[in-house]
């Protein structure tokens, strides 16, 4: 028993360091850092580069990587990104850090090289010393983790409580405006906070590498687990976050004592522990009505922010020409390309349908749902199951399974209706991770990574016919979305999105509108998932990983989250571009498109419209200027 607790405390301590880093940056600068995992990975990878690949002495490598590179990265990212986010809408704040989380790891891989073997040393000298006190086993890595947490807690508490620097940070948490009015520059304080937080991220990354592996997935999982502690602490309370993180680690470890280590149940339950924690706390917070958007700062900050916040969108009532041309071009691709590229295009179009659900829920409804990919996965698996195991015709299976998934989306919509934006994002991400662990990885569906065989309809076996079929389905659903947007329902959705008080006093209830959006978006996502399965001719659970869903979102917002053709361009680009790079450029450049998509999402911090919308506007402005030499209309846009 004791040995389980010992191991659990080590895991919990890493969670605690991560949670502390997330809480500190969130309360002091209003940014919830979805790029934490990516930052941890960058630092851990750099440490590996110095210590293993270049043979630097361990202490030197550790100090340079964690003590210099990490804080330097934090300062850099604050200066170029996080600084701009404070006044942005919650959606842009979340998506921009997601973009960073998408772009940073491949960038690091591009510079430092992709690792094949993900086992990495921690901070303990090799070989790792092992001690046996009180009949249990503790290794040096674990001791270092305990020590690291103790140092972080003691130094952190000391700094916050007893120094002027800490005083300034706590003052900043209370009110940015008042801090500035006391003669202290909030920018400089924030810079320090981000440096410290990045140091913690790097430390957590290096410490977790020996057990979780030096991989993006390992780091992202660490971050997602730490989210649970942060949610438990209602995003603010540092001691609670640390305590819950430790408890999570211990529970994760102790539970293994009672489970058969080789059983399927164990493989599902153990990684789900943090997410179950999060679920419990979220429900508790929501029931007590304490999961709204926590306003940052004091009354004065809110007054200034309300005044400074720019006016958001105008609906882009762009004509039919550009969308039709895009549709036509994509329709030509299968006719002119060879079979390989046609296959990719078909996959891209299927993906576009799934992305259309993000267009609806996020672009139109303004709800930050990070689990559209999970609905797509449900749709894919159910359709494949019906086709392969019950002999249904494939298209009927796709349609029926999409309808079956709708209640799940509606239930999630109802559950999250009273939650603030950030909580909605966290809940939906957690839901996706739980679904991944508890459903997708079941042997019945996972099948050692092969998934379930999903045959195409007999008349659409070849890639060309299939691509055109997928495009037809996309066009029908796209038309449905356009109709929705232009109809009374669309007006109602937009109204509810921008002002609940305004809508309610017009007699427009919030619940029916949100249910409508969730239902339609879930249906569209599930149909998209079904077609993805048809495209691959298999429902592959691995392709519906929630972290891949973050990349989907990054791609979509890069291209533009509002136009329907945005989804089409994004889907095709996402499917085709990596292969273009792979085929025509050295292999190591294969991930460049992902980096670009990530940075596209990051750029949202500067230009919250997306590329298509931006260029379309520039073109329109230009032509208008040419035609009439009038002053170009300032069509300000904002995603949120």
């Amino acid at each position: 028993m004791l040995s389980y607790v010992v191991a659990g405390l080590a895991l919990g301590a890493i969670y605690a360091i991560a949670a502390a880093s997330l809480v500190v940056t969130h309360v002091s600068s209003g940014v919830f850092n979805f790029a934490f995992g990516a930052m941890a990975f960058a630092v851990a990878r750099f440490y590996y580069f110095l210590y293993v690949e270049h043979g630097w002495p361990l202490p030197l490598a550790a100090v340079v990587a964690i003590g210099l590179f990490g804080p330097g990265l934090g300062v850099l990212l604050y200066a170029v990104l996080f600084r701009h986010l404070r006044l942005r809408s919650p959606l842009v704040r979340i998506v921009a850090t997601i973009g960073l989380s998408v772009a940073l790891p491949p960038l690091v891989n591009l510079v430092l090289g992709q690792l094949v073997n993900v086992t990495a040393p921690g901070l303990a000298p090799q070989p790792v010393a092992v001690f046996r006190p009180f009949g249990t086993v503790v290794d040096m890595n674990q001791l270092i983790i305990y020590a690291a947490l103790s140092v972080v807690l003691v130094v952190g508490t000391g700094l916050l409580r007893y120094t002027d620097t800490g005083l300034k940070v706590r003052a900043l948490v209370d009110s940015e405006a008042l801090t500035a009015m006391s003669g202290v520059s909030p920018t400089r304080v924030s810079l320090g906070v981000w440096a410290f937080s990045a140091l913690l991220a790097g430390l957590a990354g290096v410490l977790v590498a020996p057990t979780a592996g030096l991989s993006v997935d390992g780091m992202t999982f660490l971050m997602a687990a730490a989210f649970a502690a942060v949610v438990a602490a209602r995003l603010r309370n540092l001691p609670t976050a640390v305590a819950v993180a430790l408890a999570m680690g211990v529970v994760t470890s102790v539970i293994q004592r009672y489970l058969d280590a080789d059983s399927a149940l164990s493989a599902q339950i153990v990684p789900s522990v943090p997410f179950l924690f999060m679920l419990v706390f979220l429900i508790a917070h929501a029931l007590r009505g304490r999961a709204g958007d926590a306003p940052a700062g004091g009354a004065l900050d809110r007054a200034i922010r309300a005044e400074a916040a720019g006016a958001p969108t105008a609906t882009n009532r762009s004509g039919f020409v550009a969308p039709l041309v895009t549709l036509g071009v994509v329709a030509c691709l299968p006719l002119v390309l060879d079979d390989f590229w046609t296959g990719l295009t078909g996959t891209g179009i299927a993906l576009a349908t799934a992305l259309l659900s993000c267009t609806l829920v996020t672009g139109e409804g303004g709800m930050i749902w990070l689990c559209q990919i999970t609905f797509a996965g449900f749709g894919a698996l159910l359709a494949a199951d019906l086709t392969a195991n019950s002999g249904w015709p494939p298209l009927a299976a796709v349609l029926v399974s999409a309808l079956c998934v709708v209640p799940v989306g509606v239930a999630l919509g109802l559950l999250t209706i009273r939650l603030g934006n950030l909580y909605v994002a966290l809940v939906t991400l957690t839901f996706g991770l739980l679904a991944q662990n508890l459903v997708f990885l079941r042997d019945r569906f996972y099948n050692s990574g092969q998934g379930i065989y999903m045959p195409r309809p007999e008349w659409a076996l070849d890639n060309r016919t299939f691509a055109l079929l997928a495009l037809a389905v996309f066009a029908v659903l796209g038309l449905f979305v356009v109709n929705l947007r232009r109809s009374t329902a669309g007006l109602a959705v937009t109204a509810v999105r921008w002002s609940e008080a305004g809508s309610r006093t017009l007699g427009l209830g919030i619940v029916p509108v949100k249910v409508l959006v969730s239902a339609v978006a879930t249906f569209v996502a599930a149909v998209g998932g079904g077609f993805l399965a048809l495209a691959y001719q298999s429902a592959l659970p691995d392709s519906f990983n929630p972290f891949t869903g973050l990349v989907w979102l990054a791609v979509l917002v890069t291209v533009g989250a509002r136009p329907v053709v945005g989804a089409l361009v994004a889907g095709v680009a996402f499917a085709v571009l990596p292969s273009v790079f792979q085929t025509y450029l050295p292999t190591r450049w294969a991930e460049v498109p992902v980096i670009l998509f990530g940075f596209g999402a990051v750029m949202l911090a500067r230009n919250p419209e997306g590329i298509i919308a931006m260029h379309a506007r520039q073109l329109r402005d230009l032509s208008r200027w040419r035609q009439s030499r009038r002053e170009p209309a300032i069509a300000q846009g904002d995603l949120a």
Binding site: T315, T488, A489, S499, T505, L506, G507, L516, I634
Partner: protein, 270 residues
């Protein structure tokens, strides 16, 4: 025009409404009623509880004690949207517009919510987004836009509209649901003198044309006293005066509340 009931009970009425936030009493036993086809003013210094009373009347905030009645029926427990459907409309001190919609779409949505509510659902299967609007809807929408001098802005997105225009749009949107009573929260704040005059003229015209009752919260006392049949004065959550504009103007308690207790009277007599 609007849903006029044959009775003489007030369009909306607050009886003994008390609101507490923690230990703070924001409203203390406030009574107020808005008779049919009348203009009622509500004034009081900053923090007097006017906006709180508005929130209670429109159903966005539940009172700790007291009841709210519409046309004689108790609606204290009814939601904001239920009250809206009974004929209550309001505007906000900071206009609660929908930045994704154009000026005209605001009015269209409000009109449809009142007259063709089913379209939220039926449009999805009848391709309602691609069909022309019905003649009635067009006529009514255009008339409202014209009445509030918004025609020139009809197809502009609302972001970037001047504040005065935003307020007019909120009023147009509110009138599109054919309300029996319209609650206006600080309609003139942020407007310049000319815009305020225009607003007063427009409002008076609208009341005459539509038979709507108005409840008006204003800091611009002159505007309120000029427009209202009856004025109520709140101070620190308590109603300190009620009467015709002339009576309220002469009330020493009102002068004291506005100028501070000790010096107010000396200075006026000087």
């Amino acid at each position: 025009m609007s849903a006029t009931s044959g009775t003489t009970s007030p369009r909306i009425e607050a009886r003994g409404v008390t609101v507490r936030f923690g230990g703070l009493v924001a409203l203390d036993q406030v009574d107020l009623s808005v008779p049919p086809a009348s203009v009622v003013g509500l004034v009081g210094p900053n923090g007097a509880g006017k906006s709180t009373l508005f929130a209670v009347l429109s159903g966005l905030l539940a009172p700790s004690k007291g009841t709210v009645l519409m046309d004689g029926q108790d609606v204290t427990g009814a939601s904001a949207q239920a009250r809206a459907r009974r004929g209550l409309a309001r505007t906000f001190q900071h206009p609660e517009l929908f930045p994704g919609l154009t000026v005209r779409e605001h009015v269209v949505l409000a009109y449809r919510l009142r007259h063709t509510r089913h379209r939220i659902w039926t449009d999805l299967v009848t391709a309602g987004g691609f069909r022309r609007a019905p003649v009635d809807e067009d006529r009514r929408t255009d008339a409202l836009l014209a009445a509030l001098r918004l025609t020139a802005h009809a197809h502009r997105p609302v972001s970037g509209l001047p504040l005065g225009t935003s307020r007019l749009l909120e009023i147009a949107r509110a009138l599109a649901v054919d309300p029996g009573v319209l609650l206006l929260d600080e309609p003139s704040s942020g407007l310049d003198a000319r815009e305020t005059d225009e607003l007063a003229t427009t409002l008076t015209g609208v009341v005459a044309d539509h038979g709507v009752s108005l409840l008006l919260v204003e800091h611009d006392v002159e505007l309120v006293l000029g427009m209202s049949d009856v004025v109520h004065v709140l101070d620190f959550g308590v109603k300190i005066s009620e009467g015709s504009p002339a009576e309220v103007r002469a009330d020493p308690a009102v002068r004291a509340a506005y100028l501070g207790a000790d010096h107010g009277e000396e200075r006026t007599s000087a």
